[in-house]
Amino acid sequence: MQNQATLQKREIIATALNRQAARGERSALHQRTRLWERVIRYLLLMCGVVSIFTTIGIVVVLGSEALLFFTPPTWIDSFKTLQEPITATATELAISGAGTPLEAGEIIRMVNEEMRVVSVDAAAGTITVERAINGTVAAPLTAGVDILRADSVTLGEFLTSTQWMPQLGSFGVLPLLNATLMISAVAMLVAIPLGLSAAIYLSEYASPKARAVLKPVLELLAGVPTVVFGYFALTFVTPLLRSLFGIDVVEIYNTASAGIVVGIMIIPTVASISEDALRAVPQSLREASYGLGATRLETVTRVVVPAALSGIVASFILGVSRAIGETMIVSIAAGAGPKFTFNLFAGAETMTGHIVRISSGDISYNSIDYNSLFAIGLLLFVITLALNILSRAVTARFREVYQ
């Protein structure tokens, strides 16, 4: 941004030039130049607007596809049939067949009529229903009619159920979310101490020469593609964990290995941003601390780190956000198949891992599987966006300004 004085100066000059132009005759050349200037300006603005369209695109795509996921109903076979014929007014139906029992409140469908289950008598094999709901027409039905049940995913079920089994119609995101959070927690357990310590060393202890070498080398870590980290997790860290804790304890695919490597991957993120924050603390604060007789450690922990806390916390939040969005490491090393487990040595699929696995297979558009990807994606987007905004808010809110 240019400073205000320059802008004013430029405006004054522009006004003067305009006046001059107004007095004399406006040449065709002059007009063409002005038009050209304006066209370019709007072209450039359009370039910037592309980024807004990207965001709108993300929100609309994720939102609309996820909405399809939550919009009922798709009718699935309940594996039950009507046992005896019924009239158009009967409300007590005898049913037979296997499969998951019906539940009160559920919507079922026979031929073209939709009904709501009011109560279920499992012992007698009968159900009481409310006939002809949702604008359908009641009609007599013959015995042997298939009963379809409405399979809709409610937002409540999505967010609270601990089962993700598309083939059974249960879509609870918790197993995926749980694996994501577990891996992120392990990753932060690795990245926070290592990253912050590395930042403190680089900023407070290392000589300028050492720093000039060490920092770029550490940042090389940030340049390694994540698929390579995934390979590293599977072929190096996992065997290492298995030899340390026993082959029976540690599965080939496990969240611990993925978490550790994700942690290694975000060390540079944490270190680099924290170090910038530490170095921004004015030298006078350190000198004052030494002047009071503090050791270098005491200066670091009681003066420098508290002064740079906003930047450090922001780096942690950004690290978490990256860990949650990380895809290739977890898809390679953390295993396939959603599992609700707190065992770090067992495999469990994360949100991102699930998206990769499902979309890399044969997937038909408009299937519930396809739509579910976008529902997961939306959740992921909301979480990471919130974290990113939080990280910037922390920086802005708690920034200490030294003059």
């Binding site: 370039c47 795509v61 994720l62 550490l218 450690l297 898809s331 992921l380 987007f381």
Partner: protein, 477 residues
């Protein structure tokens, strides 16, 4: 600093407790300094372990078995030709290789012709004349109206020799005649430090399985066949040419889209936007937020928009190409462009901001318009910085895997991409696919592909560093 504090001891009461406390504090400071340094070292060691692990897997020893040894094949060929044919097999001419096929697997020769050259359905191949079945191939005119089964073995062999490349023929010989089979592979570290152990394992293997012509030999998984060959289900023949070409295509197209857009947006934000209106503030904030969106989300965006909604465009159907669906290089490049756009914009903004205001003022003073100032003064001064940022964003894009998988690039592709509307595979995808397979040999291949990918990144980053160096030199000079 430590000395300074110690110097001040004479200014404070020198009783024993104080001295002890001071010593304790200094010991603690020392301990933590070691810890801080160790943390840094752990990070660097992880990097080292990563590289070492890749190198360890990419080179090593393999045990191979083959139905015939190379010497046997050469001897048989010499006998058939009546002259001594010199090895190695790889150096043989096309007609010699085709001759080997005819000698060892005469009945498979027409099958190979069909697999490699047929333009018609497999069930029609033996019925239609060659003119039609092998349309486009070089054929002697006298056989063009015959069917494949009416030809002699010599004629069939001649078709192979005239129409297949050396690489394909050699791969066929290795595969179908020699029947190269990798029994087991060992890592570089074991090769270097435990060769006796490998030999013992090899002997046990030979004793247990009794494979024909067993051989233990050092092997580099990264070799010329690997870099120039195409995908194969046999690990010893698999190559990554298709993947490298795919990556290059995607990168070129991505840059073509993202570079002008990104630089344009950056110019607008730095040079024009100063009134602080809502649109400009929105763009700024939005770009920072987009930079933090996980790449897989861009994949979902690309899947819904470019692959599905814009399928007529991205499949090239609108332009007369008939690709079945929108999972093409075009879709990949568009997705990647959106992904790296925020990175390019932020880098370009910084480069433009670093151009001294005095340059602009001088240009205005000479009567230049704003665009003239930008085009002739600001951009040339900012260009090296912009290019550095762009190259770095490119090196991020090269390694991106997740969005490509999500838009559907996970199919196994044997054909080189020929344009923006081809199906494709890319290096990181190839690495991912090989890593996911359980056999050890594919892990080795993945390691070799990782070396290629890292080499590509190294080239890009060196270019960025050299550019940055030149800028700082120029500013100093």
């Amino acid at each position: 600093m430590g000395e300074q504090v110690q110097d001040r001891q004479s200014f404070v009461p020198g009783d024993q407790a104080f001295q002890d406390d001071l010593r304790r504090r200094h010991r603690r400071a020392k301990r933590w300094q070691v810890f801080f340094f160790a943390s840094l070292v752990v990070g660097l060691l992880a990097l080292l372990a990563l590289f070492a692990n890749v190198a360890d897997e990419a080179f090593g020893t393999i045990a191979i078995a083959s139905k015939y040894s190379e010497a046997e094949v050469l001897a048989a060929l010499s006998e058939a030709r009546g002259v001594t044919v010199e090895g190695p097999l790889e150096a043989l001419e096309n007609d010699d290789l085709a001759q080997v096929l005819a000698l060892y697997i005469p009945r498979r020769v027409p099958v190979i012709v069909r697999d490699e050259l047929s333009r018609v359905k497999p069930e029609d191949f033996t019925r239609v004349p060659l003119r039609e079945a092998l349309a486009g191939a070089t054929l002697p005119p006298d056989i063009a109206d015959l069917t494949i089964s009416q030809l002699s073995l010599e004629q069939q062999t001649a078709i192979l020799s005239a129409n297949l490349t050396h690489d394909v023929l050699y791969a066929r010989v290795l595969n179908d005649v020699i029947g190269l089979d990798i029994l087991k592979s060992w890592t570089l570290s074991r090769t270097l430090f435990d060769y006796a152990g490998i030999e013992a394992e090899f002997q046990a293997l030979v004793a247990a399985q009794d494979p024909p012509n067993p051989q233990l030999k050092p092997h580099s998984w990264l070799n010329s066949t690997f870099v120039t060959g195409t995908q194969s289900s046999y690990p010893e023949l698999a190559g990554i040419r298709t993947a490298i070409l795919g990556t290059l295509w995607i990168m070129a197209l991505t840059m073509l889209i993202a570079f002008p857009l990104g630089v344009g947006a950056a110019i607008y934000l730095e040079e024009y936007a100063h009134s602080g209106n809502w649109l400009e503030r929105l763009i700024e904030t939005n770009i920072r937020n987009l930079a933090g969106v996980p790449s897989i989300i861009y994949g979902l965006l690309g899947l819904a928009i470019f692959v599905r909604a814009l399928a007529p465009i991205s499949s090239g159907a609108l332009f007369g190409f008939n690709e079945a669906n929108g999972r093409t290089i075009f879709s990949a490049a568009m997705t990647m462009a959106l992904l790296i756009l925020p990175v390019i914009i932020i880098a370009a903004q910084e480069a433009i901001r670093a151009v001294p205001q005095s340059i602009r003022d001088a240009s205005y003073g000479l009567g230049a318009t704003q665009w003239q100032t930008i085009w002739y003064q600001v951009l040339p001064a900012a260009l090296p910085g912009i290019l550095t940022g762009t190259i770095l964003s490119m090196s991020r894009a090269i390694g991106e895997t997740a969005p490509l998988i999500v838009i559907g690039a996970s199919a196994v592709i044997f054909v080189d991409p020929s344009g923006p509307f081809s199906k494709f595979t890319a290096l990181p995808i190839q690495i991912w696919q090989w890593t996911a397979r359980p056999q050890e040999e594919f892990r080795n291949l993945a390691a070799a592909a990782i070396i290629v990918l890292l080499a590509l990144l190294l080239v890009l980053n060196s270019a960025a560093i050299i550019l940055r160096q030149r800028v700082s030199n120029r500013l100093r000079g």
